[in-house]
Amino acid sequence: VTDYEPILRPVDRAGRAFWPVVGALLAVIALGASAYATQLRHGLLVTGLSRPVFWGMYILNLIFFIGISYGGTLTSAVLRLVGAEWRRPVARAAEAATVCALLVGAPQPLLDLGRVDRAGWLLLHGKFSSPMLWDVISISTYLLVSAVYLWVALIPDVALLRDRGLGGPLRRALYRALAAGFSGSEPQIRRAQHAMAVLAVLAIPVAVSAHTVLSWVPGLSQKPMWHSALMGPYFVLGAIFSGIATILILLAVLRRVLHLEAFLLREHFEKLGLLMLAMACLWAYFTLAEHLTAAYGQKPDELVVLKEKLVGRYAVPFWIMVGCCFMAPLLLAFRRLRTIACTVAVSALVVVGMWIERFLILIPTEVNPRLRHAPACYFPTWVEWSELGASAAAFVLLLVLFSRLFPVISIWELREDTPRPARGPHGPTEA
């Protein structure tokens, strides 16, 4: 393909669906805002939380949204470092999804705080022995690195937009600022490529740390079935898994809505689908290892939680989760089923399944504390469901705005005349 105009068209002109979609998303976000106003007025009383279920939907959404961010920066950085050329058309959208998911996910704990007015004390009075403080540090670092990673890869394309003079005065000022004086000269390109290579290496440990530390918040406690060394890897793997599924859905939507059929090929969906299949197998392996350890070790406290999951009150969501996260992706093992439609359908199931997985990690343990005072249960209220809806809408809205402002496929990386990867003394400096 040599004609990159289709990539620029959505930036140039809004599609017919743009404003209705933005309006609908804003309406959902407004519902979430009104729900939050209710919560500010009445406190966490309006949620389904109680003693001993101290964490619910909001912490779950934190884990979920940080999780789906893993299909972007991390996956893109790994593919960049191993020199997978096919990533070129999909990397930009994926990296944008990371930043959008983090912007939605990172503030979730604020919804959960009993005294949100004192949130600043995390910075003023932070105590380092708390994994929650590690969380604040690692997630903000991850957001920063992901944003810089997205931006650096965006610079040449923004310079193109600037040179074309697209948009009104505000947008032109934005492009001018983001392009950071990029003129496309040889030393500038080399510097950008070098920065990308460094950032890609940096992004991997930073990204892995974010969900690991998140897993440690429950994982370092002594609660039955939370206290497990597998928590970190399990969270990271689940995050990559749900992240790839999210990216697949996103790519299919962009392909259809922005008419990018010439760039996003079935091959991309097949490759990402296979990657998701591999993650599904690893996920099943981790899940088996975790649950078998609890079952065979037969510690009474853990068995109570395990039974609740496998055959008790949470059996239905548990087996739906197994169906969504393991059985469904197995379909992608068949070449004939690796169509775009089928891959996207499986991805949707995986995203739902992984949300349920996070629910099943948190809740069954919480309703079965070591010392049982009274029977406990948890079901989110309309306020909490509204926050889930509003968070999802905010994620989509951010992506819609991104696709309106920037090319969702990296033009300069696709260009044949982009300098081919040069193997410098610092390893592959290809960007």
Binding site: L45, F54, R115
Partner: protein
Amino acid sequence: MPRWGMTIDLDRCSGCQACVVACKQENNVPFASAEDLERGRGISWMQVLSTVEGEWPNLRARHLPLPCLHCEKAPCTKVCPVDATHLDSEGFVEQNNARCIGTRYCAQNCPYGVRFFNFRTPEFPERLARALSPDVAVRPRGVIEKCTLCAHRVKRAEEQAYLEGRKELRDGEVTTACAAVCPGQAITFGDLDDPQSRVAKLARSPRAFRLLEELGTEPKVFHLRETRFDEGT
């Protein structure tokens, strides 16, 4: 420096809940509606967990009074991201209501379930509101609270001793609200570091045990297990 602790003799506990009521009165703990209790939003610094074992007519009721155990290695304190709770020099696990931001992480990490979140702004009936205990602050909505082992009573007694020119408190000079009202005198409060104190002697009893000892939390509240009728004490 004393190290305050408590023993609760299960042989002497009849499950009457006087300690629960006295604690609420002493510490300005608000009432909870039946609905709030049903939904796990009630607050009771002192709880009596009761179970009935066996089948009729061979029944056996067991009661376990459960305040905060003020663990030496408290799992709740290290997880607080803003240092709103910590073990102080006299052995109390303190809770700073003004610092707490309501993450509820401490409550998650307490294996005994003795930490409570204020789901509501506390409300007291008119007459009770005028009779609140002046030594204990009423906690606002959105923060964690829990048993202080009546640290304010200790403070007051220490002030009195200071005025009388004494450096240390006598054993039994100060006690908690729950211990003061217990009709069976099941609860004993005192300095665990004073080997001659009543509480230290009871804590050395062969009947003494600590809840969930295997977790290594080292509670400073000891329970004394029940004896059978044919077994001497």
